[in-house]
């Protein structure tokens, strides 16, 4: 080998060290779809002027592989265009709609669509990048008639400093997912899922006693999902992750210790969780769909995944309320509006979201069409309406149900208040992965010390974010 070759290789290798984090720097300058500038009807208090010519780009169009959803998207755009013939929607397909790494890079490069899909937990990140428009002046009961019936705790996740930055399209409230088939085999009543952690533990023992590799209870403990589930379980017991002002960790409490102790006891004392740990999404679904797992904490859309992707049966899965029942972690997704969008673009985007996602009987709430397209109807999701809208939605859903809605009756019958994820959730979850994975992989784990160490680390994280 000659010196030049060595030099080139060494330089390339050294360059590679910084490459992973520098990718975003390659992204181009801000791009915008062709759009009308402020023109007729650009006053923020008015609804969209039907005469205004507007072009908006929107992501999260279902991919071609999701034939029925894609067809519905096209139908809805056609129907929307009959109401607003001057609005052009440029759709961008995606599955999944958001992946954290590309999404982060898009924000950094300002290459997201005009109306862009986000998770509830993304607001802080989007605002830090200065990438969202304040839509407060545009959202009212004229532009979004069902506004008064949208759960305030859901809208709160999309607000910062009193300003609204997004509109919800779907949400979930976590609960206890369980395998009804295994419940029956273990002599448990599939219509009465456990409601407390003591009951969960007792049921898990019976389920694990079935043998043949069946685990009674399962939990994630990797890729920040251990911290995520820790939070959900802590909320169920009435605990909190951070103080009211968000500056201190608040989980080193009897409730916080109880979450870890439950897991430790099920793993080591009862041996009802199995030896394979370090699980991450979608490991628990895979196990439940193959009848190797009795229960885990999850959201209703996990059932869709188990049936549509893992070829399970709706009849086999049930859902109960979050054990403990004090509150349930809620999450979901929404659309935000790219910084720099014109008033007409924002109005057109809101009109589309209202049509597609927030109007009973239309778009995602057209259950008769969903049923005709062989897609599931009856899962307790989305779950953001209250009052008359919720009642109307439940009636419409029941009329076209294609899944056994009675399997989710325990979940629906128990009203558990929703609670959002803490700010800077991922950084906190990363720290909490450690104690969760410790109690599941170390028989000598010291719950108090693990939690105390995690508290110190989270306080450090929070201090660095002030």
């Amino acid at each position: 080998m000659n010196t030049d070759l060595f030099l080139h290789r060494s330089v390339a290798l050294a360059a590679a060290a910084g490459l992973a984090l520098s990718v975003a720097a390659c992204s181009g300058s801000a791009s915008g779809s062709g759009s009308s500038k402020d023109g007729a009807g650009s006053s923020v208090s008015a609804t969209l002027d039907p005469a205004a010519k507007v072009t908006i780009s929107i992501d999260c169009e279902p991919p071609v592989t999701k034939t029925a959803e894609r067809k519905q998207w096209a139908e809805d755009i056609a129907a929307f265009n009959r109401l607003y013939p001057n609005v052009t929607i440029n759709s961008k397909d995606a599955s999944p709609c958001e992946e954290p790494a590309p999404f982060t890079a898009q924000l950094k490069g300002r290459t997201q669509t005009d109306v862009f899909y986000t998770y509830f937990t993304d607001l802080g990140q989007v605002l830090d990048e200065g990438q969202a428009e304040d839509i407060t002046p545009y959202v009212n009961e004229t532009t979004v008639p069902a506004l008064k019936d949208i759960d305030p705790s859901v809208l709160a996740t999309l607000k910062a400093d009193g300003k609204l930055y997004g509109l919800p399209t779907s949400n979930y409230r976590m609960g206890l997912l369980y395998n009804r088939k295994l419940f029956t085999r273990a002599g448990l009543d599939p219509d009465k899922p456990p409601a407390t952690w003591d009951e969960v533990r007792a049921a898990a023992r019976k389920l694990a006693a079935l043998g043949n590799g069946v685990n009674g209870y399962g939990d994630y403990s990797a890729t920040n999902q251990g911290g995520w589930h820790y939070t959900a379980e802590l909320y169920g017991l009435g605990g909190a992750m951070v103080s009211e002002d968000g500056k201190k960790a608040a989980f080193n409490t009897p409730e916080g210790r109880q979450v870890l102790q439950n897991l430790y006891d099920m793993r080591w004392t009862d041996n009802s969780m199995g030896a394979t740990q370090g699980l991450k999404w979608p490991d628990l679904m895979t196990r439940m769909a193959s009848d190797k797992l009795g229960m885990y904490v999850g959201a209703p859309d996990d059932i869709t995944y188990m049936v549509q992707t893992l070829k399970g049966n709706y009849a086999d899965y049930g859902m109960g309320p979050m054990p403990g029942g004090k509150s349930a972690l809620l999450g979901g997704n929404d659309y935000m509006f790219k910084k720099g969008s014109s008033p007409d673009q924002i109005k057109a985007g809101i009109a589309w979201i209202n049509f597609k996602y927030l109007t009973l009987g239309k778009g995602q709430f057209d259950y008769a069409r969903t049923k005709a397209d062989n897609l599931p109807v009856g899962l307790p999701q989305p779950f953001f309406f209250t009052g008359a809208s919720l009642a109307g939605d439940n009636r419409a859903k029941a009329a076209s149900a294609t899944v056994p809605v009675q399997n989710y009756a325990p979940y629906l019958a128990t009203s558990v208040p929703g609670r959002t994820e803490p700010a800077n959730a991922q950084q906190i979850y990363k720290v909490l992965d450690n104690p969760v994975s410790a109690v599941l992989t170390d028989r000598n784990a010291n719950v108090s010390k693990l939690l105390s160490d995690a508290e110190t680390q989270v306080n450090q994280v929070l201090a660095s974010l002030q």
């Binding site: 080998m1 000659n2 010196t3 060595f6 030099l7 290789r9 060494s10 330089v11 390339a12 290798l13 050294a14 360059a15 590679a16 060290a17 910084g18 490459l19 992973a20 984090l21 520098s22 990718v23 975003a24 720097a25 390659c26 954290p100 790494a101 982060t104 924000l107 950094k108 990140q125 605002l127 830090d128 990048e129 200065g130 590799g213 403990s221 990797a222 890729t223 920040n224 199995g274 030896a275 394979t276 740990q277 370090g278 991450k280 910084k339 800077n424 991922q426 950084q427 990363k430 992965d433 450690n434 994975s437 410790a438 599941l440 992989t441 170390d442 680390q457 450090q460 994280v461 660095s464």
Partner: protein
């Protein structure tokens, strides 16, 4: 005269094409390789909040030094590097020596050794995840059949990193073996013949002929391997989700990834990338120096 003009025109045309290619390559390299590096250095001194980017001096460096994960990631990365050198350097070298000593079936065995390299990393990782499963995995079944104690493999902080290294060694052994084999085949046969005539057995031939003859190339490959293994990401990420039990497989590159893509903290990610860049640049300098000696 006309002939000279034709020749000159041809040369100019040829050079233009060459320069055209060169400019394209330089532009691509500059934009996709060097510009991100420069941006990384700039961003390691910046922070972005609410859409505003500010210069923060060494705050990002301070932040990563305060993060307990920083030292844990370095400890894990160094452990991986040492273990990867023990396994990943020694095992392929020994296999290469064995292949080199073989008189028959050498080609078939070479193919067999190289086969794992052709398997996509994700498939290899899935395979090892099944092997490592502490409940029903192949490895524990084999250990139990031999009446040996079973292991938690990826499920214990004590064994997770070793398990990752074993899988990584298996996945990458074929390529390293072929490189060592090429180096071994460059040794003149007369040296072995002379050693044999002097009554040297296999071990003595390896010690007195093979090792001295390949020492320089081995030291260069060792340095290359150090630079490569310190950037390990794929194997721990796929096998353990990146962190492993109690953070036992968290590596520096994974921490960079977490800062950037999980926490949206590009400043800290860039600062940590810069620390790693400087360290690896040191190794690369050593590498260049050694390669000069090799020439």
């Amino acid at each position: 005269m006309a002939a000279i003009n034709v020749s000159l025109r041809r040369k100019v045309r040829q050079n233009l094409t060459a320069h055209g290619f060169l400019i394209g390559a330089v532009l691509c390299f500059g934009y996709f390789s060097w510009y991100p590096m420069v941006r990384e250095i700039v961003m390691s001194f910046q922070r972005t909040r609410r859409g505003r980017t500010t210069w923060v001096g060494l705050d990002n460096l301070d932040h990563i030094l305060q993060d307990p994960a920083f030292w844990q990631a370095w400890r894990n990365t160094l452990l991986f590097t040492v273990l990867a050198l023990l396994f990943g350097f020694a095992v392929p070298f020994l296999v290469a020596i064995l292949l080199n000593e073989l008189r028959h079936a050498r080609s078939y065995l070479r193919i067999l050794v190289y086969l794992p390299v052709m398997m996509p990393p994700v498939a290899s990782v899935l395979l090892f995840k099944y092997f490592y499963d502490p409940g029903h995995g192949l490895f524990n079944h084999l250990l139990a059949a031999l009446h040996l104690p079973t292991s938690a493999w990826l499920n214990s902080p004590d064994t997770a990193m070793v398990s990752v290294v074993i899988a990584a060694t298996w996945m990458n052994m074929g390529g390293a073996t072929l490189i060592y084999l090429a180096a071994l085949q460059g040794i003149p046969g007369e040296l072995y013949e002379a050693a044999e005539l002097d009554g040297a057995g296999l071990l003595r031939r390896i010690w007195y002929v093979t090792v001295p003859q390949t020492r320089l190339i081995l030291s260069l490959l060792l340095l290359l391997q150090i630079v490569a293994t310190m950037q390990v990401f794929v194997e721990p990420y796929l096998l353990t989700g990146g962190n492993g039990p109690q953070g036992s497989t968290l590596t520096v590159v994974h921490l960079i990834y977490q800062y950037a893509f999980n926490f949206n903290n590009y400043g800290s990610a860039s600062a940590l990338g810069l620390v790693m860049l400087l360290l690896l640049a040191g190794f690369s300098g050593l590498y260049v120096r050694l390669s000069r000696n090799a020439d």
